[in-house]
Amino acid sequence: MSACALRVFLQRAAVTRKAAHQTFSQTRAFPQCVTGSYTHSRGINTLTNSLRAEEKVTVHFLNRDGKRISVKALTGESLLDIVVNNDLDILDIGACEGTLACSTCHLIFEEAVYKKLGRISDEEMDMLDLAYGLTDTSRLGCQVCLRKDLDGMILHVPDVISDARVDSEKESSTAPPKV
């Protein structure tokens, strides 16, 4: 198993443990990633999957600056896990650490790929509704787990609201929520 995966797993397990101590209901939002005949939750699957070297799949992130980031990742990992575990240069993503309490891991899928994804829960849809630049093929990365049949998919990282941008383009149909 790679040292990186082990380190990340231990770090995230430590964060999860510490956070779980303070936040007892945190686990309720972890996606159930079903691969083969077993179900496992985020964190554990990083360790067990890295032991199964044959399940690597390529994923391309089309970043906000137009650059493409390609990474080989393990099936079973959530797309947010992939960004975090591989330390990808995608900023400001995963503020709530994958617990369906924000929309910062918003990703836009190709239509054909989107149709293949698992069912979207009401809870995910509720948070997705708050995402800037929401599209019909949007999902939250923390709720989508990588599978073999998603090999080669391209994920578009959408822009976030930013007044510093000179050309403020598309107005989202979703106004930012008020507290």
Partner: protein, 467 residues
């Protein structure tokens, strides 16, 4: 403007001061540290404890929203960042003194006031701002003596944003749902003995203008042992409007309509309802004239369309009997220091993309910059914007980095001569550990310390052990 000649001061890079240790302050710091490997960032916070509304605003039953604290902790522990708690900027140290000690100062102190309803009877006992009520159950030291009287059957909340729904949910949630959270023990006990059974959440405009988001509404709909009590008349014409709505607004409206139709279990002990087209005009006192016993609402009609729909009075009035009135119509920033420009109408610091108007070297981020709306992620994006603008100004030479600035050294020396007892992050960690320990013995995530003096005592214990 001199282009920064940093030869003399290259050993000490830009020094930035951030006023306010909540999400805006921490996210601004995070971005600055990342963008400049030579920047040192100091955060000053009025309370001994950090994290602002993440600690004092987010509802106790939303612990996952507080995960951002992990990121903030990492920022505070960064070698080029230092946190100074229990420092009241504006009183213990002035903005001018900070501007002298730092290359740039960022105001991220949020909105500690609240908008008032501006109606007669608002000051009667039994009327609270949501800010204070939330502060009470979340352990904000200045709200620990609130003692809201929960012995009345009906509570009326004015405002229909997420804060209003949080208050309604905390008032009606079964105690089992709350007893393992970080809600304060005295709030938990008060709620366990509460007689409140009916909560009305009142808004000026109609269902299509409701400001809350769907997650919070769904939590009300799913609340155990409660049923929804809506007025079908408030929803006239709404079904027809559904098809033209964007998806988020459509789903939110559909959920409300489902609640109107289904209502819920008639045997449920408690109920909650949304009331639309109603504005408060007077708080009515009881027969003894000593406390609130009801609220008088004016009925509105809507004029205009789309985003600019307005409520206009019809002249009709409606009285609602209630013993608890909570006004949740918005937080409000206040001026921190006479040296800082302030727009009293919008209640923000006037700025252009985070650069404070007419004041070089002064910036702002978060609610004090944009107004008190938005979730944590909104503030995150906004803070990153301010940080980027500040970095741009550094690189364009708009801030003179060639001048050596003493930073925290000078300010902490000044504070010491003034008898201010600062709390460093490592000392907060001691307070944090104590809160977790006390919580554990009560079966809770934590038991917050409510008293600034007690927090400072814990900090002192830490000092005396190690020095």
């Amino acid at each position: 403007m001199l282009t920064g000649v940093r030869g003399l001061s290259s050993s000490s890079g830009p020094r930035v001061c951030i006023v306010g240790g909540g999400p805006a302050g921490f996210y601004t710091a995070q971005q600055l540290l990342k963008a400049r490997q030579d920047a040192a960032v100091d955060i000053y916070e009025r309370l001994p404890v950090p994290f602002g509304l993440v600690r004092f605003g987010v509802a106790p039953d939303h612990p996952e929203v507080k995960n951002v604290i992990n990121t903030f902790t990492q920022t505070a522990q960064h070698e080029r960042c230092s946190f100074h708690g229990n420092v009241n900027v504006g009183k213990d140290v002035t903005i001018d003194e900070l501007r002298q000690a730092y290359h740039a100062v960022v105001l991220s102190y949020g909105a500690e006031g609240n908008r008032s309803m501006g109606i007669p009877g608002e000051d009667l006992p039994g009327v609270f701002s949501a800010k204070d009520f939330v502060g009470w159950y979340n352990g904000l030291p200045s709200n620990k003596e609130l003692h809201p009287d929960l012995s009345f059957e009906t509570a009326v909340i004015l405002g229909q944003g997420n804060v209003a729904l949080d208050v309604a949910r905390i008032l009606l949630a079964p105690v089992e749902m709350l007893k393992e959270t970080d809600i304060t023990q005295n709030a938990l006990e008060a709620l366990a003995g509460s007689k409140v059974r009916r909560v009305l959440i009142v808004g000026r405009r109609g269902p299509l203008q409701i400001a809350c988001t769907i997650k919070e509404l769904r939590e009300m709909v799913n609340l155990p042992n409660t049923r929804a009590d809506m007025l079908p008349a408030d929803f006239e014409g709404i079904a027809e409007a559904l098809k033209d709505l964007p998806r988020p607004r459509k789903r939110l409206t559909e959920l409300m309509m489902k609640a109107v139709k289904e209502g819920g279990d008639d045997k449920a002990e408690k109920c909650w309802g949304l009331r639309f087209f109603r504005s408060p005009v007077e708080v009515l006192a009881g027969a003894d004239e000593k406390r609130a016993a009801g609220i008088r609402l004016a009925l509105n009609k809507l004029e205009g369309s789309g985003e600019s729909v307005r409520a206009e009075v019809t002249g009709q009035l409606e009285d609602v009997d209630c013993g608890l009135i909570i006004s949740s119509i918005g937080y409000k920033s206040i001026p921190i220091d006479p040296a800082v420009p302030f727009d009293p109408r919008r209640a923000i610091v006037p700025n252009e993309m985070g650069r404070v108007q007419d004041t070089a070297g002064l910036y702002c981020s978060g609610w004090v910059k944009r107004g008190p709306t938005g979730v944590i992620a909104t503030t995150m994006n906004d803070s990153f914007d301010t940080a980027r603008v500040l970095i741009q100004d550094m690189e364009a030479g708009k801030l003179d980095l060639s001048v050596n600035k003493p930073g925290a050294q000078a300010i902490t020396a000044l504070l010491q001569t003034r008898g201010v007892r600062m709390v460093l992050f490592s000392q907060w960690e001691k307070i944090n550990a104590e809160e977790e320990k006390r919580g554990k013995s009560l079966g809770k995530a934590r038991e917050k310390l409510l008293d600034v003096d007690e927090m400072l005592k814990i900090r002192n214990v830490f000092i005396s052990i190690f020095f």
